[in-house]
């Protein structure tokens, strides 16, 4: 049966090719275009982490140009949320260490001081801001030379750090979960209710092949479908957007498996209690949209009123966030409790409402 269902669902269904392969890629492309590459700004918002009296004058001068606004920050959150273009981090006791470096510059005791510039490579404005500050620090270096004549030895080591925030990586788990939900709510649920309404399941019930076995086989086919579309999507992300899909691979596999279990169970529950495929399309769409937007797929909704509260109750939030752990974007804790509650309730409800029903 699995062989024939695979033929039907993968090789002979034009819709599945679109929904499970083309659509996620298209969505990645569209969302990345919107959120991943903003137009370059003429002014830059710069975050300053740490203290430096030595650089205060420079900051004042730059503010006068009207092209720079500086803000004191404690972390990179505003950079991630795109409120800042770049963050410069002065290490603790920077001024004191810098003075020491100047004094020890001719000795073996010299240690360079690191100034970190955090930026987001996929955002043009962030990239430009980083370049600007790279140049500024180089110029600053030269000024020291002019003032104290030791510039060759005195080094401010410019330390570029690859950004901790990459929108493609942020989007990647969201598309994975979206693909699982597509198969579960649109392929799996609709497939079962369609076959049920059309009478195919009724005909199968007349044979020794049980319907439980059919549901199991159809689940296997849906899982194959998910893995197939995920594989294509992973290759696409690696080749086109240079996302390292193997970061936290076991974490990814775990949350993909959890997502499949939760959403396929929920889909099975819907198919068990709702006869009409059209009603299932509506219900599937509602769940899909709520899980997607309230689940913080495309932007963080944790602190948004009402939506943030809904987010805490739905499984998609924790599954996406769990996948984001691999890339360091996780904002929730306890990723298992809510998804497991949904999983158990779905299976239990499907069993209670779906069993001993006559096939019509």
């Amino acid at each position: 049966m699995v062989k024939y269902l695979l033929k039907l669902e993968i090789f002979r269904s034009k819709e599945s090719t679109f929904w499970f392969i083309i659509f996620p890629i298209l969505l990645t492309f569209i969302l990345s275009s919107i959120f991943g590459n903003m137009e370059a700004n003429v002014s830059f918002d710069v975050g300053i982490m740490g203290e430096s009296k030595l650089f205060e004058n420079m900051i004042k001068e730059l503010e006068k140009t009207g092209q720079f606004s500086f803000f004191k920050v404690n972390d990179l959150e505003l950079l991630r949320e795109k409120d800042l273009d770049v963050v410069i981090e002065f290490p603790e006791n920077f001024d004191e260490d810098f003075q020491k470096s100047l004094l020890l510059s001719k000795t073996n005791l010299f240690r360079p001081i690191k100034v970190r510039i955090y930026y987001i490579p996929q955002r043009n404005d962030s990239e430009i801001a980083k370049d600007v500050f790279e140049d500024i620090f180089s110029t600053f270096d030269v000024k020291f030379y002019e003032n104290i004549g030791v510039w060759k030895e005195v080094k401010i080591k410019l330390f570029e750090q690859i950004s901790e925030f990459n929108y493609y990586e942020y989007l990647f788990p969201a598309i994975i979960v979206m693909m699982i939900m597509s198969v579960a709510f649109f392929g799996y649920t609709n497939g079962i209710s369609y076959f049920k309404r059309e009478g195919v399941l009724k005909r199968l019930s007349c044979t020794p092949y049980s319907l439980k076995r059919f549901y199991l086989d159809y689940t296997v086919v849906s899982i194959v479908q998910i893995f197939l579309s995920l594989s294509i999507f992973f290759i696409f992300e690696m080749l086109i957007y240079k996302v390292n899909v193997f970061i936290g691979f076991f974490n990814t596999i775990f949350f993909v498996t959890l997502g499949m279990a939760v959403f396929l169970s929920l889909g099975y529950f819907l198919a068990s209690v709702v006869k009409n495929p059209e009603t299932n399309v509506v219900l599937g769409n509602i769940l899909f949209q709520v899980f997607m937007f309230a689940g913080g797929f495309y932007f963080n909704v944790k602190d948004v009123k009402i939506i943030g509260d809904i987010a805490k109750l739905i499984p998609s939030t924790y599954i996406v966030d769990g996948l984001r752990k691999s890339f360091g974007f996780s904002v929730y804790e306890n990723h298992l409790f809510v998804p497991f509650v949904w999983l158990i309730v779905s299976i239990f409800a499907a069993f209670v409402f779906g069993s001993r029903k006559e096939i019509n």
């Binding site: 049966m1 024939y4 033929k7 039907l8 002979r12 269904s13 059309e198 009478g199 195919v200 009724k202 005909r203 199968l204 019930s205 007349c206 044979t207 020794p208 092949y209 049980s210 001993r356 006559e358 096939i359």
Partner: protein
């Protein structure tokens, strides 16, 4: 005895679809359930096929009482539902192979293809078959497991006369092979032509059963004069659809009476099972 049913009842809420029917099917015969739509034919066969739960009653399959129609019974029966839907994107041969795979034993799908005359359509998608071809495929699936008992629920409904005859030939082949057929139909001609035993059912009750010719004989019907329904003929006999059916022992006087009313197009014929049904229930099979 291949199948025996005693006091079978089925209720859907307050509606009693089957009111305690009893019958038995002998091995190697074609047993027919004849009755109008809503009589309880499909409910009965769907209970026997394991698709519905009985409310009350006893079912004996192959000499054993069964409470649930499980896989071991399904291995030995074949089913052709009143409306069968299949996976439309599969080909004819794939469909036969798929169903063959559900059973431990059975026929070669290619042989089935030959019996139902669909060799040329082997690689056609199910969705591209005509109504008659589709029904032959459905019939093919009903004996892919080489069953001892085949349920055929109105297998020719909606088919053109040629396709219907083709299906009848296949059903008669089953009988020649010694298989037992449980046929439900509302076509009197079908029951008369194919069935060894006819069970007339109406409103969830079996009215009468027996061999078709015996049922006609037992009904006491002599000759039937059939005239078109109009203002002149309306009081002459029972109205069935657009006709008035007059049962008579004296053909000549009835014809004279009809002609006196100015009715010239009439048919004189022997009674059929439909006339038996009409006599017993006061309504036609297709009412």
């Amino acid at each position: 005895m291949i199948l025996k049913v005693r006091n079978l009842e089925k209720r859907y809420g307050k509606l009693q679809a089957l009111k305690g029917i009893s019958f038995q099917v002998e091995e190697g015969t074609i047993f027919s359930f004849l009755g109008p739509n809503g009589a309880g034919k499909t409910t009965t066969v769907e209970i026997l096929e394991g698709l519905r739960y009985k409310t009350l009653g006893e079912i004996y399959y192959f000499g054993r009482k069964v409470e649930k129609i499980g896989p071991e019974i399904k291995e030995r029966i074949g089913v052709c539902l009143q409306k069968t839907e299949l996976f439309k994107e599969l080909t004819v041969i794939e469909t036969l192979k798929l169903f063959r795979g559900f059973y431990r034993k059975g026929l070669d799908p290619k042989d089935v293809l030959e019996i139902v005359g669909l060799q040329e359509k082997e690689k056609s998608r199910v969705k591209n078959l005509s109504g008659g071809q589709y029904q032959r495929l459905v019939l093919g699936l009903s004996f892919i497991n080489d069953p001892e008992l085949i349920f055929l629920d109105e297998p020719t409904t909606g088919l053109d006369p040629q396709s219907r005859r083709h299906i009848w030939d296949i059903i008669l082949t089953f009988k020649k092979q010694g298989k037992t057929v449980f046929l439900t139909t509302h076509y009197m001609e079908e029951a008369e032509r194919l069935a060894d035993v006819v069970c007339i059912i109406d409103n969830g009750e079996i009215i009468v059963s027996g061999k078709p010719e015996e049922l006609i004989k037992q009904s006491g019907l002599k000759v039937i004069v059939e005239v078109p329904k109009n203002a002149k003929s309306i009081n002459l006999g029972e109205i069935v659809e657009d006709k008035v059916i007059i049962e008579t022992e004296n053909v000549n006087s009835t014809i004279q009476e009809v002609m006196n009313l100015g009715i010239e197009n009439f048919v004189v014929r022997h009674p059929t099972l439909e006339d038996v049904f009409l006599k017993l229930t006061g309504k036609g099979l297709r009412d």
